[in-house]
Structures are given as C-alpha cells and as structure tokens.
Symmetry: C2
Subunit: 189 residues, 2 copies
C-alpha cells in the first residue's frame, strides 16, 4: 500500500501544469505527471479519473461557493447572496498566493479544446449548484436561475481581471464590482 | 459514388431518434442508424462526425439566430434584439410540425450523460455566437454578454414550455414572455 502523500492532488496539478506548458497537453502522459510529482500512477488515479481532470480539483470551489450562499444573511437578495459567496471564494481560495498558478492554468486551458470543453462543463455544474443553493434559501426558481447566470458571468469577468498581471486588487472586490456592472447591463431594454 | 439523398441529415436524425428510444443511445450503432434511414454508413459520416452529433444538426439554429439578431431594428435594445431572434427561430424552426420531434429528442438527451454534455456545449457555442452578433451591432461587450446569457435562459424556459404536451402556444410568444420574466428577475438585489 502506498503511504499517505501530503497534498498529493496539489502536487499532481502543479506537475501537470508544468508539463502541459513544457510539452503540451496532448504530449503529456499520466505516468509523466505522476513521476514529476514524485508519486505513482496509481496515486494519480486515486485522485483523478483521467488526465483531463487533473487541473479541475475535486469540488473544492463548488463547496466553498455553496457554503458562501448558505451563510449569506437571511435578508440578502439573490444577487447579494451570490456576491457573498464570491467574496468567500476570494478570501479562502482565489488568494494572492494562488494568482500565478491560476493565471498559468488559464493559459493552458485556453490553448486546448478538450480542456476548454471540460471548463465549460464545470461552469455549467457550478451554475446548477448555485441555483440549487439559492432555491434552498427560498429564492424562486426563475430568480435563482437568473442570479446564478449573472453570478457566473461576474465570476468570469472578475477572474479574468484578477489573473491579469497588471491587476493588484483581490478577487472578492473585483467580483462585487463585476456583479454591479452585470446587473446594470441586465436592466437594459 | 452515392447519389444525392433528399434530406439525408433529417432522415438520419429521425432514424437515430427512433433507435435511441427503442434500444438506448449506448446500444445503437452508426451502421444501424444509416440502415434504418435507408442510407449508407459513408453517407452518415458525410453529415456527422460521430453518433453523438446526429441529433445536433449542423448550425441551422445558430444561423437563424444570428440572422435574427442582425435583422433586428437598429434602434432595438440588446434584449429586444435577442427577442427578435427568438421570434424568428419560432417562425422558421421551432414550428408546430417540429414540436413532437423536439419533445422526443429532449427526452432522449435528458436520459444520457454524453448527450446532455453535448447539449450543454452547444448552448455555450450559441451564447458565444449571440455575443458576437450583438457586438457586431455595436452592443458593448459586457451588455452583450449579459443579454446573451439572459436570452439563452429565456430560450431554455420557453423551449421547456413549448415541448410540454399541455402547451398550445407558439415558441416565439413564449420566448418573449420568458425574456420579460428573466429581465424582471435580474433586477432583484
């Protein structure tokens, strides 16, 4: 039996990112990723079903987002609730020490159709999770669907700004500002 | 060389839908679909790269949507422009004679993870096309992104209503009504 490996998924993701940058996603194998991380292939498959998943974590972001929605003040409206969740994500996940990794990861995703597809599906899952969490707070279905879509869009905008080398603001405030802009744009005829 | 076959893609889609309903998506082969349609395997591959694509047409809906956006009155706001495009789609594509096929197709998609994934990606492509078409009309980027997301949501809502056996309204009016509801929901705090 393999010993427990501290932060094996994080080390695998970091190794994969290095290799994808160096040799391209298509030319990198799971064995190479495991070796670079100083781990075995079977450890890789304990955490990820295949190569495509290695940069997509295992639900951490979804969990934080759902907690953020559930813990918003009861009186908060649906968009403020989503803003609360994005704030929480900025405090605990999209932190300054993660910015460089996130930026490099995004460049790798953008360069590969299969990874872009995986990312798009992840966004859809996240939106569905937000809708469910909002509905659980009593938000009517249609409102929850609109708030989740606008929230996902604000997230995308804030994330692009946050990983920009010229940016020095934190993710949370960028997301709050993006939500305001998105809401304003949505009131147009 | 095979002769030209009238509406080969339509016949292949109809045959595929029958077989997916009868035997399941996983248990149906491209050869079976072609045979049921009275066509050859090579004709199938002239129109579709693989089995997963056979229920997804070849850009017809996207083309109609983009035409609808481009042909909206110049003074129309972004959401009215999207409404114009959904109306056009209702007049030319989601017509009464297509309702039963659309409803059966949706049931097959919902029952299969691979097809649901394909559908989700198609929605993302459609949203990207709407953003591009709106931007070409001079809609600012952020506004175009919001309008396209709200438009996609209104489409989804209207489509679900339209394929419902109890519904007797046309797709266009349902989409217009859904757009109004979606916009209202988006103004919440």
């Amino acid at each position: 039996m393999a010993r427990w490996q501290p932060d094996a998924p994080g080390r695998l993701a970091a190794a994969a990112l290095d290799l994808f940058e160096e040799n391209g996603y298509e030319n990198t194998t799971v064995i190479e990723i495991a070796e670079r991380a100083g781990l075995t292939k079977s450890t890789f498959f304990r955490y990820f079903p295949d190569k495509r998943e290695v940069l997509f974590g295992r639900g951490t972001v979804t969990g934080l987002l759902l907690e953020g929605i559930a813990s918003a003040p009861p009186a908060a409206g649906p968009l403020d609730t989503v803003g609360n969740a994005l704030d929480a994500l900025g405090r605990t996940f999209f932190t300054a020490d993660r910015r460089e990794f996130s930026s490099r990861r995004q460049a790798v995703l953008s360069a590969n159709a299969e990874l872009r597809e995986r990312e798009a599906l992840k966004r859809i899952d996240l939106t569905a999770s937000m809708i469910e969490a909002l509905t659980r707070r009593g938000t009517p279905d249609l409102t929850a669907r609109v708030a989740a879509q606008l929230g996902a869009l604000a997230w995308e905008i804030a994330f692009d700004q946050w990983i920009d080398a010229d940016n020095s603001e934190d993710f949370g405030p960028l997301a709050r500002q993006a939500l305001i802009e998105v809401r304003t744009a949505g009131t147009l005829r």
